[in-house]
Amino acid sequence: MSDTPAATDTAFVDFRKVWLAYNDDLHAKGIFAVEDINLQVQQGEFIAIVGPSGCGKSTFMKLTTGLKRPSKGQIFVDGKQVDGPLKISGMAFQAPSLLPWRTTLDNVLLPLEIVEPHRSQFKAKRKEYEARASALLASVGLGGMEQKFPWQLSGGMQQRASICRALIHEPKMLLLDEPFGALDAFTREELWCTLRDLQAAQKFNVILVTHDLRESVFLADTVYVMSKGPGRFVVKRHIDLPRPRDLEITYTPEFTDIVHELRGHIGAMRKTGASAAINQ
């Protein structure tokens, strides 16, 4: 009965009253990492989740990809209830975690050696896959770097390769957990544009977890602000800045106003959090 979404069947990602406790013990005590998450993301939508550290943003990612099951509630992705690892998703993290004994090309190809149906065709179609990986690398500015090893690449280049690895099996959903957190400001802005162009070209869904409010406003269609302990979505802010967005837009008053507004929400949350801590 509950296998088919009803009211919101247009949503690509659909969280319905999702609660998660990390184990039975915490569940019994009523301590949840995330609480009462309701969320509907449309096909091709780019969402960003911002919030203080430890607010359950990463937990949210694990729920969406099916690496963790909710304690209560249901999650639907692409019309199907999530009940295990979701192969239509690709993930990248703050650490590029490329394998140092593989070339950049082989690192990008790794998912195809694992995910079906590519896995069983990998040997036969290797040439085709290599061409696909090369094209993807070229599209993020890593053309000609195929045979380089990760240690020969700069931090920003490694992160680009890591994003290529997340996209090589053409996922419908890309999950990024603070992917640009360890990069310098200029490289970070370059990669914003890379990500913006990839998403504009391929129209996959993106869920971006970040600390950086400017990043979230520049890239996302919708920004969600998450509160801490327990993790809840407290603000949903639609970003109606026109696309395609240029980096220049980050210096306009409209942009700055939105960033300020979000900053206000987080500041208020931190204050109440702090006073709650004092009252205890």
């Binding site: 990809t65 690892p85 192969k87 993930m91 975690s97 394998l99 998912p111 090893f149």
Partner: protein, 255 residues
């Protein structure tokens, strides 16, 4: 001579200096060769008894290699088991550590009862003393997986086995080759110790019989030969390590 060349020559220079000093002390104070033979005397004895020594050395060498081969097989299998399963790790690690703390020479009398004098106890002592570092290193390499990379692969439907073979095992290879260098030298210790009480052949036996007949030069020759064999094998595995898992050294040393 640049710094790199200096470093390459340093061990040879130190060794030569030690031998010369040793010779000078022996000659100057006229030390009896029954107490502490001079390098010259050891060299003479080595040449005089070269065929005997070669026979014993060959025996020690192949016995060590057999024990070491068993150690690699058992060490890799146990390391794989411990490194890939948290339960196996929890169950076995304390026991293995306790076992490793036992002096392996103490096993020799027991092995003699089970296998008699000869090859058996020596092979097994070499094995017992050298499998532990191999096991620990394989297990460490497998257990230190980045959780994020594991997520990246698990979401694609990777089974535990995929993660182990695609990521865990290649990652543990530098640890593995590193441990071989340590393990091979330990294996020589195991064989020699065992031969000293439980064999009628091998360098260990040579040491005991030379000592009991006051042929100190010959005893030192035996020590020298074991040392040289262990060092050569160490260098061999060091070479193999550098040429098979070069990626592990690249990042730190630049191009």
């Amino acid at each position: 001579m640049n710094r790199k060349q200096q470093e390459a020559w340093a061990p040879w220079v130190l060794m030569a200096a030690t031998i010369i000093l040793w010779q000078i002390i022996c000659s100057a104070f006229n030390v009896s060769e029954f107490i502490f033979p001079s390098p010259m005397r050891i060299l003479e004895q080595t040449i005089e008894h070269s065929s005997t020594i070669a026979g014993h050395a060959w025996r020690t060498f192949w016995v060590t290699m057999v024990g070491f081969a068993i150690a690699i097989v058992v060490g890799v299998l146990l390391g794989f088991l411990i490194g890939s399963s948290r339960l196996a790790y929890a169950a076995m690690y304390p026991l293995m550590t306790a076992f490793n703390a036992l002096p392996k020479a103490a096993f020799v009398p027991i092995l003699v009862v089970w296998f008699g004098i000869g090859v058996g106890p020596a092979v097994l002592t070499a094995f017992l003393i050298s499998f532990f570092p191999i096991m620990v290193n394989i297990a460490t390499g497998l257990a230190t997986l980045e959780p994020e990379l594991e997520d990246v692969l698990r979401v694609l439907g990777a089974k535990r086995w995929d993660v182990l073979t695609k990521v865990g095992l290649p990652r543990s290879m530098p640890y593995f080759y590193g441990s071989l260098k340590v393990a091979i030298t330990l294996a020589f210790v195991g064989t020699t110790v065992s031969e000293m009480t439980a064999s009628d052949q091998g360098i260990g036996y040579l040491l005991i019989s030379a000592g009991s007949s006051m042929q100190m030069g010959l005893a030192f020759s035996g020590l020298l030969v074991v040392g040289v064999m262990a060092m050569l094998m160490y260098e061999l595995f060091s070479y193999v390590e550098k040429h098979t898992t070069a990626w592990a050294h690249w990042g730190s040393q630049g191009e």
